[in-house]
Each structure stands twice: as structure tokens, then as C-alpha cells.
């Protein structure tokens, strides 16, 4: 008895100490990490030398990366700041990557093999202009020179150390620079551009010292429009302002001549104004009219002739010199399910160097960009490879008629995420390739035991690791008991949906949504939200779940909306519709119809409410719940928060019984001269709360959490303080936070943090909100917690009242009951800036919570909520300590082992999503940005299942040993008994 008690205690306490960390060999068991770069904007090949062939790319997400040309893997990658878009890029000296970024203000050189930054220069100029980068073959004082035109100034920069050798201003009024050209073998550059929209300007500059050699201009009364195409080093082609006349501008030896040719002279049935596709192919250029692409050759002195008219979707690649005076370029055309890659010589249209037809996945859409590269085959003929960028932002390498590799870089720009359950396992549904038999299972566990007893050889260890990582269990396509296997459905900016398996992160299906593709009715569609539409539970279990994709036709909030319904198992688009109203907000209602379709309320820009699905049953539910539907709107610009309820059917001329007018119930107007809304947060709709009561052990007291789904957290700052850190003093900045009930408009709590400013990141869960902001006085980041308790229930403390039933706990909770609330609050310093914050969510809400903090270093840190408890004090009493209250410290601890991303980075972190597993102890965490990261996370360890560490073999051995011991003692006791009898 005396022995068992301490053992029992020991067992309990050993399981209570939360250790969340990971052993190094556990990496990859439950987590996966994928790296992406985004839609490629520019690509430069580096294949000259022997060694690893690579391609350097810059993307629309401000990434510079080098990829392995054999497999498409990333060698190195740098993510520049959000306002540091890459304008130009090239390779210098065969070992440096030169990038021009930040609207031509920053020039950097990176070491090609390892990505180390070599030098960085800041370029300035008098005014904003187009930024152009030109690699010259000029050498000044043993320095290779790169010429940059940016911000109205021409710079010559040394490639070796980034030193600016000379610069020259072009302050001529409104000079719009179009091209910087260096004719081959010369030591001067041409700067050509338009001034005052009807004047062509040409400057000839000595590239050695920046001296102006010649300046000519010529006026053209028709004006210029759009971009230009370079057809030789001293000739370019432009269009007049109507887009109907082609202008061939030649500036040979400083003499400008403009020849104009109406397009109608070349093409009989010209359908309308044309645009030039910018290129720099010798003697050839292309224009596009509606969907028709026309290739035009330039012969001799401005003679134009049509080479070909193409009706299909065509993409033209860059020009590439393969030998002295020979230029080739690539064309990609769509032909049904195939794409056709053609490589042509610039001076000989009729001869194709290469013609390949490649089968292409229809879900990749159209080809957007082509980058051509050549190699010399063993028989000295030219071979070509092409890097193509597709409509869904994916990147593919084509060579010898096949796709060598492809990268799904659309996943780098995720707009919204939702999850879906997998199908239930049934006969015929199982996708598992093989099930382990008992012998293999035991063998595996014996191996593991060997591992724990340190008896395993290196081969055994490798076998164990392989076995753990390749467990077929985790990547099956059916539901599991623990709820670990799910589909993560993501909507990307390209309008493509992907379903990723939580087990190994593979793409189960992907679909380019037709409704989010460019069409006549919808010119620039963008995706907005992804909601679970139909989640079959009980009676509709055999049906597939559906997700609802909400989009709008263009960026502005009053654009018409687009809806699309997609099957989550197969990715088939069931239906889609272009709406006749805009979408300002989507509110999933807590009601479902008989087929488990969730009712959604779409609020348009005119504050009208539209119900979906449009079925009679849905309208019946709406009528029943008419008075229980409330919503709110936040107008950031004017600082007004308004609450609404349904009023009556719409008074529009079209009879639409699913459309309702809203009545404004309340409004809160914040003084615009002193407060500007910067953040609003509400609770997650599907959050489970286990208990309302919170026992305060210190005085045997019960506090009741104020749990309401209608609470809104609003943070405002002084209008001056809404910009970046460093531009404002603490005296003129403040942060005000509000807790507002969105049904009644009642402000439950208001608090001011003086000398603080945004950005504010906040998370709302149960009865507390945690927010992160910058304290200017201490010049550190701070995190605060507010907990809200319900006082009106506080008199239910008496147990007898509960027993007799004289309590008010079963009385319905209403926002109108005006209950007394008490708030408690505390603040702590936090080291890092934040990119995202979320909280773990578990199936029943019993497990204590941890905050998931996406730090500026793109890592995800798990921080126990107990560190953010307003009841923390410097010296907690013994009772409080037992309850788990941590002594107060001024800053929150950062424990490296509690980074759930361990030694990985989720570059460009944007959001963290937590989804409860069926197992109460575990939550699934998905962090996304440029990279994707997924892991299982147990906030207080897995107390409800055996860990992966558990050794079944050891258990078996113990049982065998126990049985043997029982047998031995039995024999011994028999013998002893016999001896006693004999005595």
C-alpha cells in the first residue's frame, strides 16, 4: 500500500509534465513540408559550363531562386520583402546573379552556386520611371559593366563590387524610356523612349564614361501607345495611339526615320485595334488583335509583310542566339489536349528547327510564358529545352517531346483553406496497397525494440526509419479512427483548387475552376472564400461532400459574384453560377437542410441579404429562424461598425424570394480623427467549448466563462500611428481595443494602451482574446490577454442550489439579457514580430489550449495559454501553483523545442489553420505561405493513445516474464509447502 501510492503519483505526474518537443528521428513521421516559389516572371538559364545545370528564376511573389534543371528542385531561394518586387535579372561573369528590384532602387548580386549575397547597391534618381537592366559585354578598368536605367537616371555599375562607375540624369520632361540597347560590338548604348506621347527621343551615350554622344528626336502627330518591339539593334516597331497604324522607327547612325503602315494594308479584315507583343527578335515581331496573333516580318527599309496569322492561343518566347547571327525563338500553341512547341529561326519563318507535340493536363490551363534554352548534342546539332509557365502558375520543363519535371507553384499563393473528411472504408473503397500480416508486424516491433535497447546495427536503424516514414497507414484514402487522415482543400490565386492528403501532402486532385477563368462576362475573376457546403453526416453518408467556392469578377467590392460547387472527393465542378449581385460577406449559418447542405447568407454591397441554396426547404428554415439571424459590418475607412437583422423581402423589380432587405439595428461610430480600425477578430464558428465553469481552486470559487458566439474584437489606433514603426512618438500614438456584442451593439469592454501601435494580430477563443501589438515606450512587442467572465451566473456557486435545481444555468443565454461581465487582463513582452496567430482546437475542447504563433522568422511557435493567464502573479500561493499558475515574468518565454516547425521555415508565412482530429488530444496544424507545412500537434501530449514510441515487444516480453515468474513462484511455493508439511 505504502509502496503503490508513490508509484501511482509518479505515474500521474510523469504524464502531466508537458513536453511537446520532437526527437530528431521523428521528423517526417507526422509532418510534411513543401517548398514553392510562385509564378515565374523571368528565367535565365545557366548551362554553359560543365557541372550542374541550373535555371535562375524570379517570380511574382518576389522570390529569387535557382532550380536544378534535371529535377526541378530548389538549390537556393531568397524571399525579398513585400515591396521589393524584382524588375530585372541576369547572370554576370558566369557566377553572379544580378537582380534589380524595388522599382529600380536596389541592385543586388548573388553568388550563383550558394545564393550568398555578394554586394548590394542603392540607386537613386530624380523621378519615377520604368526600370531596365542591360548586361553589357563592356569592360572598364577590368570591371564588367551592367547598365541600369531606373528612376530617370542611367547608371553603369561594376559587376564585381557593385560600385556605380558613372550615372547620367534624363530629366527631360516626361521621357518614357522604352528600351536600352547596346549594338553588338560597340561601346555606346542607345536610350530610346517617348516624350509627351507624340515625340520619339533617342540618346546615344558613351558606355565608358556616360558622355552624351547624340540626342535626336522626331515628332509623330498620331502619338504612340503601348509597348515596343525591337527588330534590330537600331530599329523598333511601335503602334500609334489608335492601335491601327504600325510604325517602324529606325535610328541608324543617329538619324531617325519613322515609316507608318496601316495594319489594314497587311491584313484585309483587321478586326480592330492591335497590341504589340513585346519581343526583341531580329526582323520579326508579333501583334495581337482580339484572339488572332499575327507575325510580321520586317524586310529591308521598313517593308512589312505578314508571315503568318494564327487563330489559336499562342505564346511567344524570348529570342535566343544560337550561333553568330542566328536567332531562334519558341512558339507554343494549344491544339486540343496537346500543346505544340515550335522553335523557328528568326530570319527564316518557313523552316522549323523543332516541332514537338506534348500531351498536357487540361487542369493546367493555357501557356502563359515560354523560356527557351539550347544545348549542343553529340552530333553537333542543336537541341532545345523550354521552360513553360502555365495559367495555374505551374512550371514545367519540356525536352525531347516530354515533360521532364513539373512544379505546382500555384500552391505558393493560397487564398483560402478548408478541410474535408475522406470516404468511410467500405468493401471496394479500400485503397491500401498491402496490409501487414502479424509476423511482419511483430518483426517490425522486434526491430524497434532492438533500436531502443541500442542493439541495432546501422542497417537496422535505416530499416526502422524507412518503416516509420513509409507506413502505408498514414496515406490511405479512407477515414481512420483517430481522424488524422483528411483532405486539405486549398484555393489558389490562379483559381485552381487542390486537394492535399494530410498523410504525406500529395495532391489527390486539382482542378482549374472554369468559373474563375477569364471569360466574356467575367474579365478578371478572383477567388475569395472556400466554405464547406455539404458535409454528409448521418443519413446522407453515402453522398460526397461538397465545397463552395466564392469569387468575384474583379477586384472592387461591388463586382458581381461567382459561385462554384465542387465535389471534395473527385474535384468535379458540379455547377457554377454567375450571380446578379455582388458579394461583400459570406456568412455560413448554423442550419442545414435535409441533404446536409449548409445554409449560407451572402451579403452584397447594397446590404441586401441573399440566401443559398435556393431551395423551398431553405426558405422554410429561413422563415422559421427569421428573427434569429443577425450580422454586422465593419467599415474600416469611416470607422463605423453596424449591426443588421433581416427586415423584409427585397423591393426590386425582379421577384426573388431568397433576397431580403436588412434593417440597421445599431451602429458604433468611432471618431475618425483619433481612431482608425486596423483589426477585427471573431471566434471561430465551429469551436467546441467543453465547460462554461472555471474552478478557481484558491478560494474554492467558480467563475463562469462568458461564452458568446457574437463577440467581436476591434482594435483601433491613432490615424497617425497606422503607418510603420519608427515614424511616430509614443505620445501621439495609442491603441484602443473594444469587445462588442454584435447582436445588440453593446460595448462589453474598452481598453486603451497608450504609446502603442499596430500592426495588431489577434485570436479569439472561448472567453478570451489574445492580441499582439507594438509598445513604443518600451520599443518592444507586447502580447495581451483579456478574459471575460459572466457575473450574473456567479451566484450559482452553492452546490445545494445546483442539487435542488434552483439555479439559472439552464435558462437560455441571450445577448439581450444584458448580463454583467467582468474582464481580467494582463500584458507581457514578446520578442518577435508576428505574421499570424491561431489557437489549437480539439474535438471536444477538453484539452488545454496552446497558441500557435507565426513569427517573423517564418517559424511556428507553440505557446501554452497558461503563460497568458491574467491570474498570473509574481508570487503565486501554494494552491495556485498546484492549479498550474506560472509565476509572472515580464516577457513570454521562447523555448526552441516548442517550435512545431522544428528546423524548417514556412517561408512567406500567411496563415495557420488548426483542425481538430477525432482524437481529443490531437489537433492538425496546417501553416501556409510560400511553403506548406503540416503536422499533428498534441497540446498536452497524447494522453489518449499510445505514442509511436510505445514498444509492443517490450510489453509482450514483460507479460511473458510475469507468467514465467508466476509459474516459478507457484512451483517454489508448492515445494515450500511440501517441506512445511514434512516438518
Amino acid at each position: 500500500m505504502a509502496i503503490t501510492y508513490p508509484i501511482f503519483l509518479f505515474l500521474i505526474f510523469s504524464s502531466l509534465v508537458p513536453i511537446l518537443s520532437l526527437y530528431e528521428d521523428q521528423v517526417g513521421l507526422t509532418d510534411w513540408h513543401q517548398q514553392y516559389i510562385g509564378k515565374v516572371k523571368q528565367a535565365v538559364f545557366h548551362t554553359h559550363k560543365t557541372g550542374r545545370k541550373r535555371v535562375v528564376v524570379s517570380t511574382e511573389l518576389n522570390v529569387i531562386a535557382t532550380l536544378d534543371l534535371r529535377r526541378g528542385e530548389i538549390f537556393w531561394r531568397h524571399v525579398l520583402g513585400s515591396n521589393d518586387a524584382v524588375d530585372g535579372m541576369d547572370i554576370a561573369l558566369g557566377k553572379y546573379v544580378i537582380t534589380l528590384s524595388s522599382e529600380g532602387r536596389v541592385l543586388r548580386a548573388w553568388n550563383l552556386p550558394d545564393g550568398q549575397m555578394v554586394w548590394e547597391s542603392s540607386l537613386h534618381g530624380p523621378k519615377h520611371s520604368k526600370s531596365l537592366l542591360l548586361m553589357t559585354n563592356l569592360i572598364i578598368e577590368r570591371n564588367n559593366v551592367v547598365v541600369i536605367f531606373s528612376n530617370g537616371r542611367l547608371h553603369a555599375v561594376s559587376c564585381v563590387d557593385g560600385e556605380v562607375l558613372w550615372n547620367k540624369d534624363f530629366e527631360a520632361e516626361s521621357l518614357e524610356v522604352q528600351q536600352v540597347i547596346q549594338p553588338a560590338g560597340s561601346n555606346f548604348v542607345y536610350i530610346v523612349g517617348f516624350a509627351a506621347s507624340s515625340q520619339f527621343e533617342m540618346y546615344q551615350i558613351n558606355a565608358r564614361n556616360g558622355e552624351l554622344l547624340k540626342h535626336e528626336n522626331a515628332a509623330f502627330s498620331g502619338g504612340f501607345s503601348g509597348q515596343v518591339s525591337l527588330v534590330s539593334s537600331e530599329t523598333l516597331v511601335a503602334l500609334d495611339s489608335t492601335g491601327l497604324i504600325l510604325l517602324v522607327i529606325s535610328f541608324h547612325e543617329g538619324k531617325i526615320s519613322i515609316q507608318h503602315t496601316p495594319i489594314s494594308n497587311l491584313v484585309e479584315d483587321a478586326p480592330g485595334p492591335a497590341v504589340i507583343i513585346p519581343s526583341s527578335t531580329m526582323g520579326l515581331f508579333a501583334i495581337r488583335m482580339n484572339a488572332v496573333t499575327i507575325f510580321i516580318r520586317v524586310r529591308g527599309k521598313g517593308m512589312l509583310e505578314v508571315a503568318e496569322k494564327v487563330n489559336r492561343e499562342t505564346t511567344i518566347g524570348n529570342a535566343l542566339s544560337i550561333s553568330e547571327g542566328q536567332q531562334v525563338f519558341a512558339l507554343v500553341q494549344h491544339a486540343g489536349r496537346d500543346i505544340r512547341l515550335t522553335v523557328k529561326l528568326a530570319h527564316d519563318w518557313d523552316d522549323d528547327l523543332l516541332k514537338e507535340s506534348i500531351k498536357m493536363d487540361q487542369q493546367r490551363g493555357l501557356v502563359h510564358k515560354v523560356f527557351l534554352n539550347n544545348y549542343v548534342r553529340t552530333d553537333r546539332s542543336h537541341g532545345f529545352r523550354a521552360l513553360i509557365v502555365m495559367e495555374d502558375h505551374s512550371l514545367l520543363l519540356l525536352q525531347q517531346g516530354t515533360i521532364v519535371w513539373s512544379r505546382e507553384d500555384g500552391l505558393a499563393s493560397i487564398i483560402d483553406v478548408t478541410t474535408s473528411e475522406l470516404p468511410v472504408e467500405r468493401a471496394g473503397v479500400s485503397v491500401a496497397k498491402f496490409e501487414l500480416n502479424l509476423f511482419e508486424w511483430l518483426k517490425g516491433h522486434m526491430l524497434k525494440l532492438k533500436g531502443t535497447l541500442m542493439l541495432a546495427s546501422p542497417e537496422d536503424i535505416a530499416a526502422i526509419q524507412y518503416m516509420r516514414l513509409q507506413s502505408s497507414e498514414k496515406s490511405k484514402m479512407t477515414r481512420d479512427h483517430n481522424g488524422f487522415r483528411k483532405l486539405i482543400i486549398v484555393l489558389t490565386r490562379a483559381g485552381k483548387l487542390f486537394a492535399l492528403h494530410t498523410g504525406d501532402g500529395r495532391i489527390v486532385w486539382s482542378r482549374l475552376l472554369q468559373s474563375l477563368c477569364k471569360s466574356e462576362a467575367c474579365q478578371h475573376p478572383i477567388g475569395l472564400y472556400l466554405c464547406p457546403w455539404q458535409v454528409p453526416h448521418h443519413h446522407a453518408l453515402n453522398e460526397n461532400p461538397f465545397v463552395l467556392v466564392v469569387g468575384r469578377c474583379f477586384q472592387s467590392p461591388d463586382a458581381l459574384g461567382v459561385l462554384s460547387f465542387v465535389d471534395s472527393y473527385t474535384g468535379k465542378e458540379l455547377s457554377s453560377s454567375n450571380l446578379d449581385h455582388s458579394i461583400a460577406r459570406v456568412i455560413p449559418l448554423p442550419f442545414t437542410d435535409s441533404t446536409e447542405q449548409r445554409l449560407h447568407l451572402l451579403i452584397d454591397a447594397d446590404k441586401k441579404a441573399h440566401f443559398y441554396p435556393k431551395t423551398p426547404e431553405a426558405i422554410g428554415i429561413v422563415r422559421r429562424e427569421f428573427s434569429n439571424i443577425y450580422w454586422y459590418s465593419v467599415e474600416d475607412d469611416n470607422g463605423i461598425i453596424k449591426g443588421y437583422a433581416l427586415k423584409s423581402k427585397c423591393n426590386s423589380n425582379v421577384a426573388d424570394k431568397f433576397c431580403f432587405d436588412a434593417s440597421e439595428l445599431w451602429s458604433i461610430v468611432l471618431p475618425s480623427e483619433s481612431e482608425k480600425i486596423i483589426a477585427t477578430v471573431t471566434r471561430k464558428l465551429n469551436e467546441a467549448v467543453h465547460t462554461q465553469a472555471k474552478l478557481i481552486a484558491a478560494d474554492q470559487d467558480v467563475m463562469y466563462k462568458y461564452i458568446s458566439r457574437n463577440l467581436l474584437f476591434v482594435a483601433t489606433v491613432a490615424p497617425k500611428a497606422s503607418c510603420e514603426i519608427g515614424s511616430i512618438t509614443p505620445e501621439e500614438s495609442w491603441l484602443v481595443i473594444y469587445l462588442i456584442d454584435t447582436v445588440t451593439g453593446r460595448v462589453l469592454h474598452r481598453m486603451t494602451h497608450h504609446g502603442s501601435q499596430g500592426p495588431v494580430e489577434a485570436v479569439f477563443s472561448e472567453n478570451w482574446v489574445v492580441y499582439h501589438y507594438f509598445n513604443l515606450r518600451a520599443h518592444r512587442y507586447e502580447m495581451s490577454v483579456i478574459e471575460i467572465y459572466d457575473q450574473s451566473r456567479a451566484d450559482n456557486k452553492d452546490v445545494w442550489k445546483l442539487v435542488v435545481g434552483k439555479h439559472n444555468l439552464t435558462s437560455p443565454i441571450s445577448s439581450y439579457s444584458r448580463s454583467e461581465v467582468v474582464t481580467k487582463s494582463q500584458s507581457y513582452f514578446f520578442t518577435h514580430s508576428l505574421k499570424a496567430i491561431d489557437v489549437t482546437s480539439t474535438a471536444k475542447g477538453i484539452t488545454s489550449k496552446q497558441l500557435l504563433i507565426g513569427t517573423i522568422g517564418d517559424q511556428v511557435l507553440a505557446l501554452d495559454k497558461r503563460f497568458l493567464d491574467p491570474r498570473r502573479s509574481a508570487n503565486p500561493t501554494q494552491v495556485e501553483r498546484e492549479e498550474g499558475i506560472i509565476p509572472l515574468t515580464d516577457s513570454l518565454p521562447i523555448i526552441p523545442q516548442s517550435y512545431i516547425t522544428h528546423n524548417l521555415r514556412v517561408e512567406g508565412l500567411q496563415g495557420i489553420i488548426t483542425v481538430p482530429a477525432k482524437l481529443e488530444s490531437t489537433t492538425l496544424v496546417f501553416a501556409y505561405g510560400l511553403d506548406l507545412f503540416f503536422t499533428h500537434f498534441a497540446p498536452t501530449r497524447t494522453y489518449d493513445s499510445l505514442t509511436e514510441e510505445f514498444s509492443y515487444a517490450l510489453l509482450l516480453i514483460t507479460i511473458v516474464a510475469l507468467v514465467a515468474a508466476i509459474f516459478v513462484t507457484w512451483v517454489l511455493s508448492r515445494r515450500k509447502e511440501l517441506q512445511d508439511r514434512w516438518r
Binding site: 520532437l22 530528431e24 550568398q116 519608427g726
Partner: protein
């Protein structure tokens, strides 16, 4: 030679850490990230390999990388008090507050925000290394014994071999007394049934 280089570096640090550019009323912040050799090389960023050291101004307003010698620069920074954060996997850096003003160009006002230590030159060093993984303890007999199975075995052994010994060594009078007491409590427990079984 090395001394000259160091001298030059010092001169650079002291004369031009902050200098005005005039034209766009911006300043340049120059600094250096230094990962001392003393830190174990087991980390994720080896000393000497600085290709992935990111320096962030004001929570993402500007992002830059360091050169191979650890130097970095922010251009066109307006005057005011700024915050610089350094991100290197495997190391913990304190954010640094930097005051930039036109009144005293060429002087650094910098302080680590974590421990409020002032810096007279903008050389940023990690406060500590970060180990992201728990270190697996080597196998020991104790850990095996501490596991539930070990405890089970141990307890069984104690009960099977030590308990009879205790019981045997007990005074019969005392034993009877203990039995009486237990019966009085009315709690039939393991210890009451075991010795009897051992006796008969």
C-alpha cells in the same frame, strides 16, 4: 595585413554607420551580423556560411540579406526609432532598436530590446543557440525500470519475494494485531490476503 583590414573596418564602422543622403531625406543603416566561432558548429547555420541570414527592418517593412562578411545595409530609412530583427535558423537574436536622426549623423544609438544592453556599434550577435530537437537519452537500465512495464515487474518482484520475508520476520503478536486492525477497517486489500496465502 589583417590588422590593417580590421582597422579599416573599424574606421568604416565608426565614421559611416549612419550617413545622410540628402536628396530623399533618407538615411542608411549599416551594420554587421556576427556569429562567433565559439558557438558549436552543430547548428543549422555554420559560422562562415552566411547565405541565409535575413535582416528585417520594422517587422517586414524592408528585408535584406547579409554579405559574406556579415555586413548589411538598409537604404532610405526615414529618421525615427526603428527595430531591426535578425533571422537565422539555429540562433536566437534579440531585436535591436536603432535611433536614426539628422541631428547626430554618424553615431549609432542602438540597444538590444531583450536585455536593454546598449551597443556602440551595430554588430549583432546571437544571444544563444537554439536546439529544436529534444536530445534522445541513451539507453539505460534505469529508464527501462522506470517505464510502466519495469515498474510492474519491480512491484511484482517486491510482492513475491520481499513481502513474505517481512511477514516472516514479524512478531506473531504484532501480526495478529495488524490483522485485527485491518479487519476493523474493513478494507480487504492485497496485503491482507497475500500473507495468509503465503502462510498456509
Amino acid at each position: 595585413m589583417a590588422a590593417i583590414v580590421r582597422l579599416l573596418l573599424f574606421a568604416f564602422l565608426f565614421t559611416a554607420p549612419l550617413f545622410s543622403l540628402g536628396s530623399r531625406n533618407g538615411f542608411t543603416i549599416n551594420g554587421r551580423v556576427k556569429i562567433p566561432q565559439g558557438f558549436a558548429t552543430k547548428g543549422f547555420a555554420l559560422p562562415g556560411r552566411m547565405s541565409n541570414v535575413k535582416v528585417i527592418l520594422n517587422g517586414g517593412q524592408n528585408v535584406t540579406y547579409v554579405r559574406h562578411d556579415g555586413y548589411f545595409s538598409f537604404y532610405n530609412v526615414p529618421s525615427g526609432t526603428h527595430l531591426i530583427e535578425v533571422v537565422v535558423m539555429g540562433y536566437f537574436f534579440s531585436p535591436v532598436r536603432v535611433d536614426v536622426s539628422a541631428r547626430n549623423p554618424g553615431k549609432v544609438h542602438a540597444a538590444l530590446t531583450e536585455n536593454r544592453r546598449g551597443l556602440n556599434e551595430l554588430v549583432l550577435e546571437p544571444l544563444r543557440e537554439e536546439q529544436y530537437y529534444e536530445v534522445r537519452e541513451p539507453f539505460s537500465v534505469m529508464s527501462l525500470l522506470k517505464s510502466p512495464m519495469g515498474l510492474m515487474l519491480g512491484f511484482m518482484l517486491v510482492v513475491a519475494f520481499l513481502m513474505p520475508k517481512f511477514v516472516e520476520n514479524m512478531d506473531p503478536e504484532e501480526m495478529r494485531g495488524a490483522h485485527e486492525e485491518m479487519r476493523g477497517q474493513g478494507a480487504p486489500s492485497l496485503s491482507t490476503s497475500l500473507p495468509r496465502g503465503a502462510r498456509n
